[in-house]
Amino acid sequence: MSNVTTLQIYRGDNESGEMVEYQVPRNPGMVVLDAVHKVQSIHSPDLAVRWNCKAGKCGSCSAEVNGKPKLMCMDRLNKYPDDATISIRPMKTFPIVKDLVCDVSWNYEVNKKIPAFKIRKGERKYYQYEADRVQEFRKCIECFLCQNVCHVLREHQLKDEFCGPRFLVRVAGLEMHPLDTEDRSELLKNELGVGLCNITKCCTEVCPESIAITDNAIIPLKERVVDRFFDPLGWIARKLFKKT
């Protein structure tokens, strides 16, 4: 193992910037985020980066490493050839604040549009097999990597029309909750724009929590919208018996 790693890191803001090269010493088990921290402590204390847990649990450290969207804290250096230069850029879909930090505030605005959980009256018991399905969606750590790769947002920048995979996952978690009684189909169809997703599955590929975003969240939601607007009677029956 070579004991130095060469990195190229984006330095700059939304208007202008460049890739700057740094070399840092390499320790066993190091991840990309460790290397970025080394750059801060040795070369450039003002290098901006977000992180919190350093264990893949908080979703703060998303970036594009050698062009691949990733959590930097879970990306081991030994996965790259010893002499490789590792390039790190901020996520492309969002405006850059500085260096590796981008402005993800749009996501928080979208979240506000989603009506809260509304618990049904009476009995609160439900079983693990029912919890399982919802828990998959609730694993989301809001890293926004799926938002970053979704072409509807990335290439077409349709942020006003489409909420992105993260929030479809969130809606799925609410709609399939065994105790929830709210109906979000209208919202899904219109404001959240579920129809704009054309099932390319790029989001599923990058999800660090391995949530089957497209198959388990988006497709069932699309079906729900179709049911609701084209088979209203069937929809009412299903809603009443909460068989989803």
């Binding site: 901006a48 264990a55 893949g56 649990k57 908080c58 809260a116 079983y127 919890a131 609730r138």
Partner: protein, 601 residues
């Protein structure tokens, strides 16, 4: 002062972890105009990392459980230095707070009959931790966050509070800079709730994130509030030890709750030889008995035998591990072995402990369904903090409230696992409620003193004006190493005194710290400012550790190895006199007779 934006609120909450969010929801519910300020993005606070579960005597698995047993376990775990009233309220109210989360959409793991599942944890007599696999904190924070969003609470993300403003002996708000722009904003408030979490960044090997730079502890101290129990820093027995880049990262106690065992290099389960006097008779004596217990638990039956000694309290297990390593029976990288692979089938391990499985696989190339993990103690939790009134959570400074890890009293000298998440909910709610009530009584906003604002802004910019000076990272690294060496799990007078000397030198270096670049999102500058908190609070911890001449809970003095009944009658408080940090003994609150009765074995 006109240069700065001023925002006005009835109640401002500093911190958006479980306690801050819960406080905000309650304040807002009680009609207060409420805002939250936090250093990170919403949803990324430490609470998101909590794994094992939230403790509440729901008695879903064992109907012998109730608040009285939870109260007793908590007091015993804290070696009776806890504030009895907080321990009582906590045990009584935790079940309601957990059920309420379910009402707000949280999806806990289920029992076979469809109720909230609970797991065993160290120091809890019965299975008591409601959980979601090993990502309970994420569930908790997301539930509260989404609830808060709909309650119309304003959130100021990525703002760091640098000073609590006061006027006429009471709180008048706080001053914060926005990380992105470096600009300062004045938050003028009738009441403030500090919910900033812990101080673990003062140590080298830690499970805590960059946020844990002791901000709330320091802000309260500087503003004139008293701190309590500052000698008690919890080292969690099971942090990762290898590879170096993940040293300190937490391995949930849930691994042991699910049947994992600790072994030394000779393959021996050493915890059997480490049961302290006060827990004698409560834990299994033999491996057979311990295994029998695990078997019952896994089968969802009420165990008829005693639990494995691996589930002793954290202080005990951490010291036992340290001893094994010091006596030459450690693992290759200076820890011991935690083995779940030989105890449970692979599929169950992956199901019950998914993030542990993932964490080891990705970060250490270890498959925990096949091999044991190497583990060692890691700095984890601060029992000490702002001294508060047990009912209202108000500090000794009028209008300043505190909740969560930054507040003290509930856990005494050692916290039980799972008792933090419940603490956040119970006392977060109380803090929000009473802060709102306090604000309601005031007709006008308190005055903001421009001198306080100008002084703090000026002081904060100093690192940019330095022409010569050190990089903040090297000072922070040296501070952590020093605290790890001299104010760690086991302490002695000579080392503590050396530590005070070292802190003075570090402070001098920190006074001349220099940062480059500009005020926009500049982590070097942020750290330069955080250093001031860390240094002051490290000094408080060291001084308190020096004063308490006994070993109790998380505080172990090599030169005073036993617990001393006289020391069992006092807490230590810390406060500022001028610029000097003073530490003083205060008598323990007296436990009423009916509760004392519960503490008898």
């Amino acid at each position: 002062m006109d240069k700065y934006t001023t925002l006005q609120y009835d109640v401002i909450i500093i911190g958006a972890g479980g306690s801050g969010l819960r406080a905000a929801i309650e304040a807002s519910r009680n009609g207060a105009k409420t805002a939250i300020i936090c250093k990170s993005l919403l949803g990324k606070a430490h609470t998101v990392m909590a794994e094992g579960g939230v403790a509440a005597a729901l008695a879903n698995l064992d109907d012998r459980d109730n608040w009285k047993v939870h109260f007793r376990d908590t007091m015993k775990g804290g070696k009776y230095l806890n504030h009895w009233r907080m321990a009582q309220l906590h045990a009584q109210e935790a079940p309601d707070r957990v059920n309420e989360l379910e009402e707000w959409g949280a999806v806990f793991d289920r029992t076979q009959d469809g109720r909230i599942l609970q797991r065993n944890f160290g120091g809890h007599t019965y299975p008591r931790l409601a959980h979601v696999g090993d990502r309970t904190g994420l569930e908790l924070i997301r539930t509260l966050q989404d609830k808060g969003v709909h309650d119309g609470i304003d959130v100021y993300m990525e703002y760091t509070v640098r000073r609590i403003l006061t006027s006429e002996g009471a709180v008048s708000g706080c001053l914060a800079y926005q990380r992105e722009t470096g600009r300062f904003t004045i938050f003028n408030a009738k009441a403030l709730v500090i919910a900033t979490g812990g101080i673990g960044q003062c140590w080298d090997i830690t499970s805590n994130s960059w946020e844990y730079t002791a901000d709330g502890h320091a802000l309260a101290l500087w503003a004139g509030a008293q701190l309590l129990d500052m000698e008690f820093v919890q080292f969690h027995p099971t942090g990762m030890v290898w590879p170096p880049s993940v040293r300190g990262t937490l391995i949930t106690e849930g691994v042991r709750g699910e049947g994992g065992v600790l072994k030394n290099s000779e393959g021996k389960r050493f915890m059997f030889n480490n049961v302290p006097e006060m827990y004698k008779g409560e834990f299994a004596d033999t491996e057979e008995e311990a295994n029998e217990w695990v078997k019952s638990v896994v089968a969802n039956k009420i165990p008829k035998v005693r639990r494995p000694p691996e589930l002793l309290t954290r202080d005990v297990v951490a010291r036992a591990i340290r001893k094994e390593v010091l006596e030459g029976r450690g693992s290759p990288h200076g820890g011991v072995f935690l083995d779940i692979a030989s105890r449970r089938p692979a599929a169950e391990i992956i199901r019950k402990l998914p993030s542990m499985y993932h964490q080891f696989k990705e970060l250490a190339d270890v498959d925990i369904t096949k091999e044991p993990m190497e583990v060692g103690p890691t700095c984890h939790y601060m029992m000490g903090g702002v001294k508060v009134d047990p009912e209202t959570q108000e500090s000794t400074l009028t209008g300043l409230f505190a909740a969560g890890e930054v507040a003290a009293g509930l856990h005494g000298s050692n916290r039980l696992g799972g008792n933090s998440l419940s603490d956040l909910l119970v006392f977060g709610k109380r803090a929000g409620e009473y802060a709102a009530a306090f604000a309601k009584k005031m007709t006008d906003y308190p005055k903001v003193d421009p001198d306080q604002v100008n002084e703090t802004v000026k002081g904060s910019k100093k690192p940019f004006e330095q022409t010569e000076g050190e990089n903040p990272y090297s000072i922070s690294e040296d501070l952590k190493k020093m605290m790890q060496d001299k104010v760690g799990i086991v302490r002695t007078e000579s080392e503590l005194k050396e530590a005070l000397g070292e802190l003075n030198k570090l402070r001098e270096r920190a006074n001349n710290v220099k940062v480059g670049g500009n005020v926009q999102f500049n982590p070097g500058w942020h750290l330069a400012l955080d250093l001031r908190n860390m240094l002051d609070i490290s000094e408080v911890v060291t001084k308190a550790a020096l004063v308490r001449q006994e070993s109790r809970g998380a505080h172990t003095r090599e030169d005073f190895p036993g617990s001393d009944p006289e020391w069992g009658k006092v807490n230590l408080i810390a406060y500022l006199r001028g610029d000097a940090i003073e530490v003083e003994k205060v008598p323990l609150p007296i436990v009423p007779p009916e509760l004392k009765e519960l503490l008898k074995d």
